[in-house]
């Protein structure tokens, strides 16, 4: 199924409590080589036809204006997947 994948991460300078909790747990398991964990979002937009360049542009617009909030998050990638 053709889809567009939008990946969003919390901004670097913002506290990511989920990531911190997971990192603490990994450290408890002895995985000390992992220095930090950050958790973001992966959003899939599904299509029932081939994805066009316009679709990708539309998705980039939605990623910037609706799917993320630029005060607290960064859109890391908007990619096509067949």
């Amino acid at each position: 199924m053709p889809k567009i994948i939008v990946e969003i991460m919390p901004k670097k300078d913002l506290l990511d409590p989920q990531g911190k909790a997971v990192a603490n747990s990994l450290h408890r398991e002895g995985k000390k080589e992992i220095t930090a964990v950050r958790i973001g979002k992966r959003i899939e937009l599904h299509f029932d036809r081939e994805i066009t360049d316009q679709d990708l542009e539309m998705a980039k617009g939605q990623a910037a204006n609706f799917l993320s909030n630029d005060v607290i998050e960064d859109v890391v990638a908007v990619t096509k997947e067949d």
């Binding site: 913002l14 506290l15 409590p17 609706f66 799917l67 909030n69 005060v71 607290i72």
Partner: protein, 231 residues
């Protein structure tokens, strides 16, 4: 005087807001998120709760609702709008107010009576307060930490657009102790604490005078009613 209160799926405090409007002397008008007819109301309250289950981000989906789109259109023409808690989150997601709200600094949901200082008493919703008046109203939220870029904070400070600041303690890590802000025109106000829960003696916060006697929230609604009558 008709004041609309929008109910989204997941809104909790719509009936409390309606009651506050009634106690202030206005006529509350229930509005539905999926209807862009605002029934010719003179002002609108976006109440607290968890609209659309806080999915995506708090307030993000409500910001796209038909009723909200109409609020955005009419706010540009001067319609008074008050966003309380989740309503404040809807206002920042709608870009009617700048900045954003993130999880409380210490990660806990906080529910308590909170002292605020009225920094700007020239908005549609604060005109009956004295400048720098200290008020006590309930606060209850999990994502109430106000953040904005340095430029936005500077602009808010310089243009006197910080409507309320937390006094004595900052409960959620909000930048510059910001509890609520207003737009340039002063018709749109958003804050995290809940004025609608402090409007009737016997049901408000405790005060030095008597238990549950705090009614500082009433002036929000009386302020807007006075402004609408005078215009």
């Amino acid at each position: 005087m008709k004041i609309g209160v929008i109910t989204y799926p997941g809104t909790l405090d719509d009936r409390d807001a309606q009651r506050a409007i009634r106690l202030a002397g206005g006529t509350p008008v229930p509005l539905w998120h999926d209807d862009d007819d605002l029934k010719k109301v003179d002002a609108v309250v976006l109440p607290g709760g968890f609209s659309y289950g806080d999915y995506l981000r708090c307030g993000a989906i409500a910001a796209k609702a038909p009723a909200t789109k109409e609020v955005i259109r009419l706010a540009a023409k001067g319609l008074p709008v008050l966003g309380i808690c989740n309503g404040f989150q809807v206002l920042v997601e709608s870009h009617l107010l700048p900045g954003g709200l993130i999880r409380n600094e210490k990660q806990h949901f906080i529910c308590r009576d909170q002292k605020l200082r009225v920094e700007n008493n020239e908005t549609a919703w604060t005109s009956l307060f004295e400048k720098d008046q200290e008020i006590l109203i309930p606060l209850k939220n999990g994502e109430g930490g106000y953040i904005a870029t340095d430029d936005t904070l500077k602009m808010l400070e310089q243009e006197n657009r910080i409507a309320f600041r937390y006094v004595e303690n900052n409960p959620n890590g909000s930048m510059n102790d910001i509890a609520g802000i207003t737009n340039e025109r002063g018709n749109v106000v958003g804050l995290m604490p809940h004025p609608e829960h402090a409007v009737e003696a016997g049901f408000g916060p405790d005060t030095p005078t008597a238990m549950r006697s705090g009614i500082d929230g009433l002036l929000f609604f009386e302020s807007v009613l006075k402004m609408v009558v005078n215009s």
